[in-house]
C-alpha cells in the first residue's frame, strides 16, 4: 500500500526507519514540516526545537558523539548559522551516523536569497545526498546514515522547496533498530585542538577520495540507458523536469550522491552518448566540475542559474519552445502577503511609522511584513538577529557623523532567542544608541506556529520553563524595560516616547499573543463602520489591514476577515468605527 507524502513527511519517516534516536532543529520554510512530523514517532525518536540552527547541529552532533544516529534540519540560510559546527564536525567525524537536512528555496518563495547549499558540501568536505521525490526522501535517508558511518563524516541531505513540499506516493518500510556505540572518551577524535585538527585533515581528504570511488557504484545513482544520441546528467527535482522535456531515447545518469562526484561513472556515461547535457537547478555545481574534468557538456549556457525550473521553462531555455499563452485584456494587480487582520504587530508598526526621524532595523519573521505598504515602517531586514546588530552599526555611524537619529531594532520572540541575545548585548556593551524592541507574539509565527524557549512548551508537547525576555534584557543591563500591549496605540506611543526620553538604557517588549495560536482562547469580535459618521478620510487605511477597504468613499470592513482588534477604530478621527460586542 502506497501513501501520499510530502518530501518533508517522507524525510521524517526515513529518519524513523533508519533508527535515528535524537533530532534537533530550528524551523524554517521549506524544512519545517520534517520536525512537525517527528513527534508521531516519539516513542522511538527524541525530537526538539533548538533556539537556533547552530545549537541544533551541535545538539545532534553531540548525540552522534554519544553513539546514536542523529538528525538536524534547517532552511538553506539556517546552514549559514550552523556552518561553524558543520565544518569542524567534518574534521572530527562521527560516531553514530549524522545527517543534516538543508532545504533550499529556489525562487525564494519564503526566503531572503536563493543560495545553493551544495557549495557547503564542497567547502566543508562532506557528502551531499539529493533526493528527487518523496520515495527517495525516505529511502535515501537510510543510505545517508550508512554513508555517514562508513566514511566517518556528517552528510548533508539537500532538498529544494519542490522536493520538500511536493507530495508523491511512498511505499513505507519498517524501523531498523541500531545498537548505540558504547560511549568512551576519545580526545584524539573529538577534541579539535590544532594538533588534532592537523592530523584530521589528511583523514578527511582520504575519506572523500574513498567516497568518490564508492560513488561510482553507489545505489543512490541510477543509469537509464537510451539510444546513445542524447545523455543527461541530473539530480534532485531537475531530474523530474528533464524527464518530461527530453525526447524518448534519451539516456539519463541520475545522481543521488552529488558530492564528491563519481567522475569515473560520469566519464563512462559521457562516452556512451553523442551530446551531453547537465541539467541542474540554481548553480552549475556538477557542470563546472564536469567541465573542469575536460568533459564537454551543455548546461548553464542554456539553463538559467536563477529561479526554480519547471518543464515549460526548461523546454523554452533548451529548445526555444515558446509556451502557448493567451493574452488577456485585464491584468491582475499585486496580492502581496500582509499582516493578518488582528495581528499584534500592526499596532507597533503603525505607531513607530509616525516617528518620521526614526530608523527601524527589522528582522526575519511575520513582522518583516512591517515593510509592506502602507505601513512601510522598516529600513533594513538582513538576517536572523540582524534587527539589533545592524541597528547598532547604523546608530554608531549616525553618532560618528553627528546625525541625531534614533534607531529602533526590531526582532520577534523566537528570533530574540535565536540570535537577538548577542545583538542586545552589543548595544549595551558598546553603548549603541539603539532601542531594542521585541515583538513578542508568543510563537514562531511565519513558519506555521512552532514553540520556542519563550512559549512554555516543547516540540514533543511537554510543559517547559518559559524563558522570560524581560529578565534576560534586565540581566544584560537594560535599566528600563517597557512592557506594552501593541494593540493599545496610546500605550504603545507612550512606551516608544518613554524609551526615547529615558536617560538609562531602555528596551521595549510589545507583547500580545498571535491570534492564530490554537491552544489559547481569543476574544474575537467585529468592528463596524457607522457610514453616517465616516468622512472618507482614509486614515483607517493607513494601518494596512486586509479587512478594510474604501467603497463609495466610505470605509468598509469585511466581516469575514475582521476580528475586532480596534486598531482602525483608534486611528479614526471622527469615531466612525466601533467594536460590536457579541
Amino acid at each position: 500500500m502506497k501513501v501520499l507524502m510530502s518530501g518533508n513527511e517522507a524525510i521524517a519517516r526515513g529518519a524513523y526507519e533508519a533508527g535515528v534516536k535524537v533530532c534537533s532543529a530550528y524551523p524554517g520554510t521549506p524544512s519545517t514540516e520534517i520536525f512537525e512530523e517527528l513527534p508521531k514517532y516519539k516513542e522511538a525518536v527524541y525530537c526538539e526545537w533548538a533556539p537556533n540552527e547552530k545549537v541544533a547541529v551541535e545538539v545532534a552532533y553531540g548525540a552522534s558523539v554519544a553513539g546514536v544516529r542523529s538528525l538536524s534540519a534547517m532552511k538553506h540560510v539556517g546552514l549559514n548559522v550552523a556552518a561553524d559546527p558543520l565544518f569542524t564536525a567534518a574534521y572530527d567525524g562521527v560516531t553514530g551516523g549524522f545527517v543534516i537536512v538543508t532545504a533550499d528555496d529556489p525562487s525564494m518563495h519564503s526566503s531572503q536569497n536563493e543560495q545553493d547549499n551544495r557549495h557547503y558540501a564542497r567547502a566543508a568536505k562532506v557528502a551531499v545526498v539529493e533526493p528527487s521525490d518523496s520515495q527517495e526522501c525516505k529511502d535515501f535517508m537510510r543510505e545517508a546514515y550508512k554513508i555517514s558511518e562508513q566514511f566517518d563524516m556528517p552528510v548533508l541531505f539537500r532538498t529544494t522547496t519542490r522536493v520538500s513540499h511536493s507530495k508523491s506516493l511512498v511505499e513505507l518500510g519498517e524501523r531498523e533498530e541500531i545498537a548505540p556505540v558504547p560511549y568512551k572518551r576519545n580526545i584524539r577524535k573529538n577534541v579539535c585542538t590544532p594538533a588534532n585538527a592537523y592530523m584530521n585533515h589528511p583523514k578527511v581528504e582520504a575519506n572523500l577520495k574513498a567516497l568518490e570511488e564508492y560513488n561510482n557504484t553507489c545505489p543512490l545513482n541510477r543509469l537509464e540507458k537510451g539510444d546513445g544520441e542524447i545523455g543527461v546528467i541530473t539530480a534532485s527535482i531537475a531530474y523530474q523536469y528533464a524527464k518530461e522535456v527530453f525526447p524518448e531515447g534519451t539516456s539519463f545518469l541520475k545522481l543521488g550522491l552529488t558530492n564528491p562526484l563519481p567522475m569515473k561513472l560520469i566519464r563512462e556515461f559521457a562516452q556512451s552518448v553523442k551530446t551531453l547535457y547537465v541539467i541542474e537547478e540554481l548553480d552549475g555545481f556538477m557542470e563546472e566540475q564536469i567541465k573542469a574534468a575536460g568533459i564537454p557538456c551543455i548546461g548553464k549556457e542554456k539553463v538559467s542559474n536563477m529561479y526554480e525550473l519547471n518543464p515549460q521553462r526548461l523546454r523554452q531555455m533548451l529548445f526555444g519552445t515558446e509556451p502557448e499563452i493567451k493574452e488577456l485584456s485585464v491584468k491582475a494587480v499585486a496580492r502581496p502577503p500582509a499582516l493578518c487582520p488582528g495581528c499584534p504587530h500592526r499596532g507597533f508598526f503603525y505607531t513607530i511609522g509616525k516617528h518620521k526621524d526614526a530608523i527601524v532595523t527589522g528582522d526575519i519573521g511575520c513582522y518583516t511584513l512591517g515593510a509592506a505598504a502602507p505601513l512601510s515602517a522598516l529600513d533594513t531586514v538582513v538576517c536572523m538577529g540582524g534587527g539589533f546588530s545592524v541597528g547598532a552599526g547604523i546608530a554608531k555611524t549616525m553618532e560618528i557623523l553627528g546625525e541625531k537619529k534614533k534607531v529602533f531594532g526590531v526582532v520577534g520572540d523566537s528570533t530574540f532567542f535565536h540570535s537577538g541575545l548577542t545583538g542586545a548585548t552589543e548595544i549595551i556593551y558598546n553603548k549603541a544608541n539603539v532601542i531594542p524592541v521585541v515583538l513578542d507574539n508568543h510563537i514562531t509565527g511565519m513558519t506555521g506556529h512552532q514553540d520556542n524557549p519563550g512559549t512554555g512548551y516543547t516540540l514533543q508537547g511537554e510543559v517547559a520553563e518559559a524563558v522570560a525576555i524581560e529578565k534576560v534584557l534586565e540581566a544584560i543591563g537594560y535599566k528600563k524595560v517597557f512592557i506594552v500591549d501593541p494593540q493599545d496605540l496610546k500605550a504603545m506611543e507612550e512606551a516608544i516616547q518613554g524609551a526615547i526620553d529615558s536617560t538609562e538604557p531602555a528596551a521595549i517588549i510589545a507583547r500580545r499573543p498571535c491570534l492564530l495560536i490554537k491552544r489559547m482562547k481569543h476574544e474575537i469580535t467585529k468592528c463596524v463602520v457607522d457610514e453616517q459618521k465616516c468622512i472618507g478620510c482614509k486614515m483607517c487605511q493607513r494601518v494596512g489591514c486586509p479587512a478594510l477597504s474604501i467603497v463609495n468613499k466610505k470605509s468598509r470592513i469585511d466581516p469575514t476577515q475582521c476580528v475586532g482588534c480596534t486598531v482602525c477604530a483608534q486611528v479614526c478621527p471622527v469615531g466612525a468605527i466601533s467594536r460590536k460586542e457579541k
Binding site: R162, S166, Y239, P311, Q312, R313, V330, V333, R335, L339
Partner: protein, 190 residues
C-alpha cells in the same frame, strides 16, 4: 493519460483540501500523482496556487505556463493571474467572488474591472458564485468543496465515486455539509 490542474486563490481559502479530495479519488483509480503547494510567507493573505499532476506516470510536481488542462480559480482576479498557465483549449472553473488584496485595500491600486469577461473571451469557462452557495449551505468555509463539485464536470472521471471519496477525506462532523456543497457545486454549472 496525463492531466494537470491548478487551483489558484488566496492563502486560507482551502485549496489544499480540494486538492486532497481530487488526489484521493485519482489514487483509488491507480493513477500516479504529484502535488505541489507553497507554505510560509506567501500564505499570509497572498496569492497561492496548488498544483496537481496525475496520469499513468508523472514526473514533475509543478506545471508551467500554457500547460494546465483545468484552472480552478477560488477568486476571480486570481483566475486572471493564473490564466497564462492554462492551455489555450483548457477549461477555467471560476468562483465569481472578489477579495480585496492588501494592495487594493490600502488604496495603492484599484481592483481590476472585467476579470470574468476577460476570461470568458479567451477560455471555455464554468462560472459559479461558490461563496453565495456556501453561505446558503450555512458555512462559507465549504466554498472549496462547492468549487470541487463544479470541477468534476471538466475533469470527466465519472467512474470515480466522489461522494465516498469526500466521506473518507473530510472530518466526520463536516461530511454532510461537504456532500451538500459538492452536489450544489455540480448542479450550479450544469
Amino acid at each position: 493519460m496525463k492531466k494537470s490542474i491548478i487551483l489558484a486563490g488566496v492563502g486560507g481559502q482551502g485549496a489544499i483540501l480540494t486538492a486532497k479530495i481530487l488526489i484521493n479519488g485519482v489514487m483509488q483509480k491507480g493513477y500516479d500523482v504529484k502535488m505541489s503547494e507553497v507554505h510560509g510567507m506567501s500564505q499570509r493573505g497572498g496569492s497561492v496556487s496548488t498544483q496537481v499532476h496525475f496520469g499513468d506516470k508523472v514526473y514533475a510536481p509543478v506545471i508551467g505556463k500554457g500547460e494546465a488542462d483545468i484552472l480552478v480559480a477560488f477568486e476571480k482576479m486570481e483566475a486572471v493571474r493564473y490564466a497564462e498557465f492554462l492551455k489555450p483549449e483548457g477549461i477555467a472553473v471560476i468562483n465569481d467572488y472578489a477579495m480585496e488584496s492588501a494592495a487594493t485595500a490600502a488604496g495603492l491600486c484599484e481592483y481590476p474591472e472585467g476579470c470574468l469577461e476577460a476570461m470568458q473571451e479567451n477560455f471555455n469557462c464554468l462560472v459559479l458564485n461558490a461563496y453565495d452557495i456556501a453561505m446558503q449551505l450555512g458555512n462559507p468555509k465549504c466554498m472549496n468543496v462547492v468549487l470541487f463539485g463544479a470541477m468534476t464536470h471538466p475533469l470527466g472521471l465519472d467512474d470515480i465515486d466522489w461522494e465516498s471519496v469526500i466521506r473518507e477525506t473530510v472530518p466526520e462532523k463536516f461530511v454532510e455539509l461537504n456532500l451538500r456543497a459538492y452536489r450544489a457545486g455540480r448542479e450550479a454549472v450544469l
